[in-house]
């Protein structure tokens, strides 16, 4: 918003007009660009998925199949919106809108450059969490409004999943907020320009943040909401045409925004060389970081099979939640105890004097992550041993690995 206004002022408009026009133009730009972005990220995702599965992926429409998504969108636009009998019409139709809204509205607080941001709310981080939580209502409305048992089961799972995964998300989100001493997204990024990236102070928090965000989006391995083999398509089973496409859009946009927000909160956002002189470079840096994290999430999605619902809840409540709470306490403790380095010098000096504090916190956080992962692994191995023993007892003649799976 501020950047667009300044550009307009440079072009010779008066201050008031530039500010007003700047707001409108940036709202339109932000909303449109991010709404159209999934057309591109769907192509990226299909290409990457194809590579992971030893296929070629879309390669017919345009160079490298780049334009494949556009005919797909046209096809979806042309499809009929089907209203099954006895659907609850208003909630049924409001739900996809709400889903897209809950994702697009978070873009408003994503800083794209030194002064390129929708609006720098003083409660940016809280706003992000609050608006994201609206998605839950969208799913419940779709699930109940569809008048379909699979949709309803999907909605029931959703609330369990989305609300549970919100907890580690908030606890890890608190770490950049705590270190920077503010909830404003822009100031969190500024903080990471003066110090190290939050990732180096709390690497474990970064991974937990991305994981719990994956749970929020409901993508594999957390796609219990729409588990095809159990629920056909979960809460969106009855939707067709553009209404279905909006759920799809919300999911893909949300998946990409994980990258944007994780980069903003943990990897310095738009920070990079020469960004203070050329603000537009910030968009480039942020996009690069966001796509890197997006690739990580795709990697997880394409490699791991789906969790069972009880495993997913146990993973959250017995692993992510306690680790994120302990991590928050430990990070806060060390941040207060370790002496604050001198931040007056130039960039290199700040990095040099800040290094000891960063190294201690990095090691502590990494140790915590390693230790808790070890505990998780041991717990899983114990369960496996117990299951194997039970199976041996039940099928003494069969080899345990060929015995039918039990629970």
């Amino acid at each position: 918003m501020y950047y667009v206004s300044e550009l307009l002022k440079d072009a010779g408009l008066s201050d008031g007009l530039a500010n007003t026009l700047g707001i409108y133009i940036s709202v339109i730009l932000l909303a449109t660009v991010f709404l159209l972005l999934p057309i591109f990220t769907i192509w990226v995702e299909r290409k990457v998925a194809a590579r992971f599965q030893n296929r070629v992926g879309p390669n017919r429409v345009g160079p490298f199949g780049l334009l494949q998504s556009i005919p797909d969108v046209v096809k979806l636009l042309g499809k009929e919106l089907i209203f099954p009998r006895n659907v609850d019409r208003i909630p049924y139709m409001v739900s996809p809108v709400l889903m897209v809204m809950s994702v697009v509205m978070t873009v408003a607080v994503a800083p794209l450059g030194p002064n390129i941001i929708g609006t720098d709310l003083s409660i940016g981080a809280l706003y992000f969490v609050a608006i994201s939580s609206l998605a839950t209502i969208g799913v419940v409305m779709a699930g109940w409004g569809s008048n379909n048992k699979y949709a309803l089961l999907g909605a029931f799972r959703t609330v369990a999943q989305l609300i549970s995964y919100e907890i580690p998300l908030v606890f890890t989100l608190l770490i950049p907020v705590m270190l920077a001493g503010t909830m404003s997204m822009q100031k969190i990024v500024d903080f990471q320009g003066d110090n190290y990236w939050v990732f180096f102070y709390a690497p474990a928090a970064f991974f937990i943040f991305v994981l719990s965000n994956l749970g929020e989006v409901g993508r594999s391995p957390f796609d219990l909401i729409e588990a095809e083999s159990e629920l056909v398509a979960g809460f969106m089973i009855e939707y067709s045409g553009m209404a279905f496409a909006m759920f799809y859009l919300a999911e893909f946009l949300h998946a990409f925004l994980i990258g944007v927000f994780a980069a903003t909160l943990f990897m310095g956002g738009w920070q990079g060389p020469f960004v203070q002189d050329v603000p537009a470079l910030g968009i480039l840096y942020l996009t690069a970081k966001a796509f890197f994290i997006y690739f990580l999430t795709m990697w997880v999605r394409l490699t791991l099979p789906r969790f069972r619902i009880d495993q997913m809840m146990a993973f959250n409540w017995k692993f992510l939640v306690p680790v994120s709470i302990v991590h928050l306490l430990i990070t806060g403790f060390f941040w207060k105890v370790l002496p604050e380095p001198d931040v007056t010098g130039n960039f290199i000096e700040r990095l040099w004097y800040g290094a000891p504090r960063m190294l201690v916190m990095f090691v502590v956080s990494a140790l915590l992550l390693g230790y808790s992962l070890r505990m998780l692994r041991n717990a899983i191995l114990r369960v496996r041993e117990e299951t194997t023993a039970k199976l041996r007892e039940a099928y003494p003649t069969a080899h345990p690995t060929t015995a039918p799976a039990g629970d």
């Binding site: 709310l121 409660i123 608006i131 939580s133 209502i137 419940v140 309803l152 029931f156 919100e166």
Partner: protein
């Protein structure tokens, strides 16, 4: 009254809040009532934004819509045969209306000094001594007046925002503030949490 963008936004949010609230009680379908409750709560958070209380607005969305209203929705969905009832739920609505009216009047009288002194005076018996109007204006005189508020008029939004969040945080944890109620509430919530787990737990013995 001057019509500004704030007035229009206020009108929109007020309609959302009151209309949603009305539909909560008027809707026959309990599930729709819960959805309207969310709309009403969302309108309230919009009002908080207009009052330059962004923290409260976000918390309102997060806690009331994101958690409590969802819980209400699920309580309804998991209760047998609560859905799609076409007849009135019970016959106690006159009593409920009376209680609501009394509560509304109490609120009205308490809050009204803050709104528009003269208007209420005219309505409630003019300048008569011992009249309600007179008492209200006495009340109004006792209210603390912020000396800066009138001079500066509009304060830059960003400054106000920062003060709000930090002030809430400080008030919650300083000894002069609300640290005792805050800690008590925390203990209460923890106890409730543990209690819920104990009640819900299956007997292992």
């Amino acid at each position: 009254m001057e019509i500004t963008w704030q007035t229009i936004a206020f009108a929109a949010f007020a309609v959302m809040t009151l209309g949603g609230g009305l539909m909560v009680v008027l809707s026959r379908n309990l599930w729709h009532s819960a959805l309207f409750l969310m709309l009403s709560l969302f309108g309230t958070s919009g009002l908080f934004v207009l009052l330059v209380a962004p923290f409260l607005a976000a918390v309102q969305v997060l806690v009331y819509i994101g958690a409590i209203a969802i819980l209400v929705l699920f309580a309804i969905m998991l209760t047998r045969r609560m859905m799609g009832l076409e007849e009135t739920q019970n016959t106690q609505w006159p009593a409920a209306a009376a209680v609501a009216l009394v509560l509304f009047l109490i609120l009205f009288v308490t809050v009204s000094p803050l709104v528009d002194e003269q208007w209420f005076k005219d309505i409630l018996g003019g300048d008569k001594k011992d009249g309600l109007g007179q008492r209200i204006s006495t009340l109004n005189a006792d209210l603390p007046v912020d000396p800066d508020a009138k001079d500066s008029g509009v304060v830059a939004n960003e400054d106000l925002n920062i003060v709000t969040v930090e002030a809430i945080g400080e008030a919650l944890v300083t000894r002069d503030g609300f640290v005792l109620p805050f800690e008590l509430a925390s203990i209460l919530l923890t106890a409730a949490l543990i209690g819920a787990i104990v009640v819900a737990r299956e007997d292992e013995a």
